[in-house]
């Protein structure tokens, strides 16, 4: 299963590193990554492959949310299907 991880918040040092390490620890492959700065707001979107993940989706979702709160950004993970359905014919 592929999922989209979205990180929104104020820019600071190490956001990508933090999340990438977490993904590595759980055996999650990062397939694609895109990052922009809108004013001082940091927006990162990652496409991840969960097929070899050593964690279930709900637990990962909680973990990402908690990690986001610690570093002061909003992190969410959603099934890729929603975006594909809504934006592709």
């Amino acid at each position: 299963m592929k999922a989209i991880v979205t990180v929104l918040g104020k820019d600071k040092v190490g956001i990508i590193a933090d999340i990438a390490i977490l993904m590595k620890d759980y055996g999650i492959n990062i397939c694609d990554i895109s990052q922009t700065l809108m004013q001082e707001y940091f927006t990162m979107i990652m496409l991840v492959d969960l097929s070899a993940a050593q964690v279930d989706f709900t637990a990962l979702q909680k973990e990402l949310k908690t990690r986001g709160e610690e570093i002061g950004v909003d992190i969410r993970i959603q099934h890729q299907d929603l975006f594909d359905s809504m934006h592709k014919i």
Binding site: T58, S85, H87
Partner: protein, 450 residues
């Protein structure tokens, strides 16, 4: 490949514009639950709902978390109880068994305490209709509907007359609770068999064993899209609504398909309706106002609503493999912040609401009227609405609440998704002799169209 713009747009729709899937409704056939022994019938329906819909809430919550889009309501609709309860006549017992199951599995509503009497009622159906006030006032989750008219058979005025009495009885029985019983009862013309929305959902006889029907929402998303095209002509407005409706419907289609698979049911339809909520920014009235009306209810409202309704359907049809249900813009007064405000400011009348129902699906919905409105006047309002549906070959409905002790200028708050409603004035013309005549208003001629 990541398309940042698309992903952020979806997230914004959910976070800021109240995009949600309004309901996943499991439509369940209870035709195999009939029994001439009332107690056995109760056990059969209870067991079947528990077995087939036991996981519905869990499935809704799981999909909501995985996809990141709220699934607001989880509901069940069943075969009309007037049919499955006929062998025993234990209608109220079945109502309580269904309500108990609904509470135990944690769903929001269960619909199907229903009867189809658009041409005539059998003795059993007549007995059933008289149990509606008791069944609905003594249960919590159960919803009831009666089809009293159809384009092919006309308007059963005997049933229409009885509906006024049932609504008054329901209001009296639930007077201490803001006449909430009336919010769970709807009268239809041309009722549909696959409606996911309450209070009118039931499983039609043409439906299968278990089917998931989905109702989408998203007035806030349409409003946000229209705000970006200020000054554009109405052709452009229709195009923007179509594109937005496509996206909203796709979300519903995805959730419905996944839910059906997880529940071992078939996927039925997406109901292309823009269901509002009382939350600010989730209002159908606001869309009409963004189109250029200073308030909903003014001249031009019917035309604006017709444009909206048609564009939502055109966008939605392309997005879903199967569409059905009511499929139109909802204008429930108490559930739409903009409608509430317009009634409060005396800008929106019952007559204008009636005109609006000629171009949009649902009819007079969640309208609170003075407590001293007579049963005959309520029936006459229903008859008018049925006439609009029957002649225009569309579904119309009436969910009206004569709130005991309240008069024009007062307000009544139902709480939650049902919102709050200012009491709207009704005509003081006496229509009782017309209503008391009974009989059938014959089916309309569908040729000689001028």
């Amino acid at each position: 490949m990541i398309n940042t713009g698309d992903i952020l747009e979806t997230i914004k729709m959910v976070d800021d514009q109240n995009l949600d899937v309004r309901t996943i409704t499991l439509s369940l056939s209870l035709l195999d639950c009939t029994d001439s022994d009332g107690k056995k019938a109760e056990k059969k329906v209870y067991d079947k709902v528990m077995k087939r819909a036991g996981n519905l809430v869990k499935v809704g919550e799981q999909l909501s978390a995985e996809l990141g889009i709220p699934v607001v309501n989880k509901r069940v609709s069943v075969t009309p109880v007037s049919i499955i309860g006929a062998p025993s006549g234990n209608y109220v017992g079945l109502a309580k068994a269904l309500d108990k199951a609904a509470k135990e599995i944690g769903i929001d509503f269960l619909g199907g305490y229903s009867a189809l009497v658009h041409k005539d009622a059998t003795k059993a159906e007549e007995a059933f209709l008289h149990t509606i006030p008791e069944a609905i006032s003594e249960t919590e989750k159960l919803c009831s509907s009666v089809n009293v008219a159809s384009t092919r058979s006309g308007i059963n005025m005997n049933a229409v007359r009885l509906m006024g009495e049932i609504i008054k009885d329901l209001a009296a029985r639930t007077a201490n609770d803001r006449a909430i019983g009336c919010a769970k009862f709807v009268v239809f013309a041309n009722a549909v068999e696959d409606n996911p929305f309450m209070a009118g959902a039931f499983t039609g006889l043409g439906e299968g064993e278990a089917t998931v029907n989905v109702g989408v929402s998203g007035p806030g998303v349409v409003a946000a899209a229209l705000k970006k095209c200020k000054g554009a002509d109405l052709t452009t407005v229709a195009e923007v609504i179509k594109k937005t409706a496509f996206k909203i419907t796709r979300a519903g289609q995805l959730v419905g398909g996944k839910a059906a698979e997880m529940l071992g049911a078939k996927f039925g339809i997406v109901d292309l309706s823009l269901a509002p909520t009382p939350a600010i920014g989730d209002s159908v009235a606001e869309i009409l106002e963004i189109m250029g009306l200073s308030s909903v209810g003014g001249h031009g409202t019917t035309a604006a609503l017709a444009l909206l309704n048609d564009a939502v359907k055109k966008g939605g049809v392309m997005a879903s493999s199967m569409v059905g249900g009511l499929s139109g813009a909802f204008i429930p007064v108490s559930e739409d912040a903009g409608m509430i405000e317009a009634v409060r400011a005396n800008k929106l009348s019952l007559s204008k609401l009636e005109a609006m129902t000629a171009v949009c699906s649902v009819g007079l919905d969640m309208i609170a009227v003075p407590g001293d409105t007579s049963a005959e006047t309520v029936s006459a309002i229903i008859a008018d609405e049925c006439a609009i549906g029957v002649v225009n070959n569309k579904t119309t409905a009436v969910r009206i609440i004569p709130v005991p002790g309240k008069k024009v200028g007062d307000e009544v708050s139902f709480g939650g998704l049902l919102g709050s409603a200012p009491i709207i004035s009704v005509s003081d013309v006496d229509s009782s002799e017309f209503v008391r005549r009974g009989g059938i208003i014959p089916a309309p001629l569908h040729s000689l169209k001028n």
